[in-house]
Symmetry: C2
Subunit: 306 residues, 2 copies
């Protein structure tokens, strides 16, 4: 299936919706009915994959690949892989032993519907299958095996013990109370930025980005991820519950320290602006042939209200 | 580090112990102290990796690679990868929501020591890091990237929703009562054989095995894994608790259906003999240059009493 390539002609909103639709379709195809998978496991995987969301990480994979005019069919599979990793992390984070959440995006969490055991396994299965989607890009789209190996290493590093899982573990350790902003930054960088960074690197590597462009994508991802998380902290204080689809003030109620807690609301807003500006500068300096969507994403995330 | 290559000169028992020692050392090195990993997560990962066991899957990776005189340093890393996947599966299986076990091999289970949340994350981290160990074989040992991609696909397929996780999910679905031997075989094949099959394929692929030899290794793994699991079912009835390091009769007490339940103890023993014989025949027919350790492993597993 060729990916519809509408980028030039459409607004950012339409571009985003187009990618949401393509990713959702591809995720549904991603576990073919012909594969023998126990029904409870399959349903639990599909349930959380289809729970919606902004598909921000897929958006970044696609935009990074498009910035270098790479193979967009391969990028769509990498986009689905990163969405599977993100989804698994949400399923496990919501478990009673972790954040113990009953709802996410207005829907019951995975373990509330399928039970804890199946939710744990669905998370495990999504994480494992993400690596399959990455590995098959070589045979399916002719992406050189060396690049696929590098994407695999990135995914494992940035979502594993030194990356996203490490950030989650540090977040839990920190529930006894963080005392320094640098500790919070460590958590945000790993829990959030690392997978965002992976998304950008994957898109870039598929398109054969050189070392300088990969470094620019890495910097863009690091700063954008941090800005995204600080914006989340801000929206938890000043956001509109109906737009966010969740209760605000939850950080304060749970006595969670956040950026506004350490430096105040206004300085946090300034930090989002500064990081977004620096992220865009990193991309602009690196001479991509088609960077406009990356820049639009940065602006979109900075101005989002949910 | 060159892997000590003692195979020719030593008994099978010494060979096995040598591999146990090498894998244990490499697993300890596998999470360098220089890597920033939250301490609770690092300790939980190490705790279960160092909990011992027969290291049967690593043994199979090494023996398969040795059967074709492949790169044994790379095989050792693949061996550690499969041990990480096996270890993660045990940590998650032991959780209260799953089998709710307090002890494994005479030691407290991971969640009893570190808490459920850290145990879930330690499992996630081990699974994720296993893919890193596989991917880095290309740069570290010059294994062609195409082979590394194939090993990655195998690992994801055989440990994911169609493989080991699928087997675990089917096992849980089946707790309401299996009625046919074919259902139990499905569970055994995926829960146990698939990762054993992966171990053999990984060793073979590192050594550049051709399609016929890979098929022989696949067949060897399938039959050996099934024999291994039936032997487990038998030992649960007739085994010696002090040798097994766990209580016997647990399947009967938990009303778990097993091979002996369906076909009786003697027919189960015959099945182990038949499967082991067929497994060895598959290897013997495929003309490996150095198959003796693979054959010895098959005999060892058939005669084991723990």
């Amino acid at each position: 299936m060729a990916v519809t390539y509408l980028s030039e002609q459409v607004s950012f909103g339409q571009y985003h919706q187009n990618i949401i639709d393509q990713v959702t379709t591809r995720l549904e195809e991603g576990l073919p009915g012909s594969w023998q998978i126990p029904s409870s496991l399959r349903e639990a995987m599909q349930y959380s994959l289809m729970a919606g969301g902004k598909r921000m990480r897929p958006l970044l994979v696609m935009a990074a690949c498009e910035a270098l005019e790479g193979n967009m069919d391969a990028a769509l599979d990498a986009a689905c892989a990163v969405e599977m990793v993100h989804t698994y992390s949400l399923i496990h984070d919501d478990l009673p032993a972790m954040d113990n959440d009953d709802y996410r995006r207005g829907k019951l969490t995975n373990h509330k519907v399928f039970g804890e055991a199946t939710a744990i396994l669905a998370g495990d299965a999504l994480l494992t299958h993400a690596f399959y989607l990455v590995a098959q890009m070589s045979g399916a789209y002719g992406i050189p095996a060396e690049r696929v190996v590098e994407i695999t290493m990135d995914l494992s590093e940035l979502s594993g013990p030194r990356g996203m899982v490490g950030g989650q573990a540090a977040d839990m350790e920190g529930e006894q109370g963080l005392t320094e902003l640098s500790q919070l930054e460590y958590i945000h960088l790993h829990k959030t930025s690392d997978l965002i960074m992976f998304s950008l690197l994957a898109g870039g590597r598929i398109a054969g980005a050189d070392a300088a462009k990969l470094e620019a994508l890495r910097m863009f991802g690091r700063k954008l991820g941090l800005a995204f998380q600080i914006q989340d902290d801000i929206l938890d204080i000043v956001g509109d519950e109906s737009k966010l689809g969740k209760k605000t003030q939850s950080d304060i109620k749970q006595e969670k320290v956040t950026y506004p807690y350490f430096i105040g609301l206004e300085a946090s807003r300034d930090e989002v602006l500064r990081l977004t500006k620096e992220a865009k500068a990193a991309v602009l300096e690196a001479d991509f042939s088609n960077p406009s969507r990356l820049l639009e994403i940065a602006d979109y995330l900075m101005h989002r209200d949910h």
